[in-house]
Symmetry: C2
Subunit: 428 residues, 2 copies
């Protein structure tokens, strides 16, 4: 369960968030009466997800694990970040390099770098691999380019027939270029639901298939999300998620326009990237929006830490801390103690990390940065599922509180139009 | 050579930076007359670096390459980020996984995560390895913890004598816990110069030894820095570096308080982290400072792109683009063209990436975000060395323009004091 503490923000709030506004935003979200309500399927998804498809996802993952040493996941934005985030957090940022009985996972088609794509081809070598192509339309440029290339590689290696059984398409239920191709070729297909936008889709097949291929228990992941949803339904605006939304908006109204998400595990780096998409893309509209940034602590205390402590005072910080570490590593004793570290001899690193967290929180608060503290028990499927739902729900409330539609992204069309024109795409 | 274009900023500047102020900041820097002038050794380092030590670095790297399959680099902040940034950019973010005739490189002691440290030990396996411990004082907590653990591992594997020949210490020239230990044990040692602060130290032994171990030509890297220094000395305040500094400050004075560094190669991710330390730690003082953030394009156009296009208009953006890509990858043709991509068939991905960059620049400018464009010829040692020096020099000028000491970091003491108190360190 997601626990939250606002003790580090109270002294900064000149007035508490207006309960009526918070209730209104909450009601708008759960009653589906606000802008973008067509894209609120994620709210009840942990209960009403497609159970048959869920079982098929697990079967597909089992098949991939048995016939492939590598999985290439082709997708961009919401069709990529969530899966990478969860895999790196629940397995490791070094997942591919560590011993395991699941395939290596490579993320392609999330940019236009030939170097990055070439690296993946090199790393695949001549190993058996499969491809999960994730694209609602099938026409988004970056994944479409990568899919052409990896499909060609599969066909050269396995023939057209063999390639077909190694391509898994996550796409629109009924329409679009990828759905058309998948139906014709007989790719095993999964659905990007019509009522769940990309950045809210990690708990759909979009995220779940790659995540399952990494050996993660997606039943437990979904259970965690379901429990957090239950908690929010029970507590309403007093829930941690809604209070987080209300607090960050209230702080923003007092000029804390940048929110820095700070975690104390390097494995959290891509969860922070996922969070930045979720909040940045949901709220960055109409000249508004808290600017989302992230740091990796304690490393970045030796980097951005100076700015957080003493720079412009437009910051609010949100810590994410896991109370119980996985690994048990303690500081060795040393006879000579030249480095002065013997006062820590025998201490667990997790204990030192926690004291560093507390110390940093106090320092930043003294420096004028309000700090919200999110705590989870440990890095495990249930807690990560809960955190995902927590952030998704809070984002919806936060967006409505700030007066935007949290579920569209009209701004991303501008560069695309320009790009298609420069590339000579017909019609542009 | 670092080329820069301000065509994307001109329409935003209500008035050009004041030449007198810019000249004054430049003079203060190059004449060493400003605050922190004790730490300006990096200015002339590409000319006056220790040539004997430089040769020893290369010899040490050769030894490590011959007797080790892995190198563990222990260090934090400036003793870590620069090396990782350069290795990932010049070799690959997937360096360890790619075929090569140099050792795998792992970065330890840059945080207090037991999970991260345990991962490294697992990945080392029973392979031969060496350790480069980088710490001016030898007492910074995170690397001190990691060094105790890896030194112990080395001693268990090779005995005390064998371990000594596999430890390379980069530390103070004369004093401190690590220097004392290194002298006594006979570790090959290198110098963290007294007049170069951590975030400015990548072109000292701090960065150069790990970088050389990755097979990178450090002569060429230094040559690039030297050439950029020559360019700046020749052009003075009209140089790209000074104009970048002046422009970013001028934009900040008009309310563009966040600078987003945007590159079009995922390999640049840690260069951006290095840049954030350089600028954040130099300028985040006295309630001032442009807030440094970064994005990876085009991936983040499907993430933070909405915010950049339409969110709060307090943003300025700096693009970094490499004109010539390393890999040559073109888009395959497809008979059926279901994905509509045939208009790109045969096009190089590098061409498409460049059009995406131009399209994005135009879109963001239309949206109200000034865009400075930094261009380099290609990802190679000379260009990367030049870019490093460019950013370092510009940072010094920028800091003085904003009225701070760019070369200290007093704010990082606050959390440390708290942490030592909570941990029961004697004296706290």
């Amino acid at each position: 369960m997601v626990n939250i503490s606002f003790e580090g923000t109270e002294s900064f709030l000149s007035r508490q968030p207006d309960k009526k506004d918070v209730q209104a935003a909450f009601d708008t979200l759960v009653n589906r009466t606000g802008a973008g309500n067509d894209f609120t399927g994620w709210i009840d998804l942990p209960e009403n997800y497609d159970k048959e498809e869920f079982a098929r996802i697990k079967q597909a993952a089992a098949r991939i694990c048995s016939d492939s040493k590598a999985l290439v996941v082709v997708g961009i934005g919401g069709s990529y970040l969530g899966a990478r985030a969860v895999i790196e957090l629940l397995r490791s940022p070094n997942y591919n390099a560590l011993p395991k009985n699941t395939p290596d996972i490579y993320f392609a088609g999330n940019g236009i770098s030939g170097d990055a794509l070439t690296d993946i081809i090199t790393m695949l070598g001549d190993r058996d691999f499969s491809v999960n192509v994730i694209s609602k339309s099938g026409t988004t440029t970056e994944p479409a380019i990568a899919f052409r290339i990896f499909k060609q590689l599969l066909e050269r290696k396995y023939g057209a027939e063999g390639a077909r059984s190694r391509i898994y398409a996550t796409t629109d239920r009924a329409r679009g270029a990828l759905k058309t191709l998948a139906d014709r070729e007989g790719y095993e297909s999964f659905v990007v639901p019509d009522d769940v936008g990309g950045r809210y889709s990690v708990l759909t097949a979009v995220g779940l298939l790659p995540i399952a291929c990494a050996g993660i228990d997606i039943d437990r992941l979904m259970q965690g999300a379901r429990d957090e949803r239950t908690e929010i339904r029970f507590r309403g605006i007093e829930s941690a998620a809604v209070q987080y939304a209300a607090t960050r908006q209230a702080l923003a109204q007092q000029g804390k326009s940048i929110e820095i998400l700070a975690a104390f595990e390097p494995a959290f780096r891509f969860m922070a990237e996922w969070w930045k998409q979720l909040y940045g893309e949901s709220e960055g509209k109409d000249g508004k929006g808290i600017f989302p940034a992230s740091v990796d602590l304690t490393p970045d205390l030796h980097s951005m830490g100076q700015y957080i402590q003493d720079g412009q005072r437009m910051l609010q910080e949100t810590f994410v801390f896991f109370s119980h570490a996985s690994a048990s590593v303690s500081v060795p004793a040393d006879e000579e103690n030249l480095d002065g570290l013997n006062y820590l001899a025998g201490r667990e690193m997790s204990y030192i990390n926690e004291k560093a967290m507390e110390a940093t929180m106090a320092a930043h608060i003294s420096g004028g940065v309000p700090v919200t503290q999110i705590r989870l028990a440990r890095i495990c499927e249930e807690e990560v599922g809960a955190l995902i739902y927590f952030f998704e729900f809070a984002c919806g409330v936060s967006g409505y509180l700030s007066g935007v539609n949290p579920f569209n992204q009209p701004g991303v069309e501008a560069y695309k139009k320009n790009m298609f024109h420069l590339l000579g795409k017909p019609g542009y």
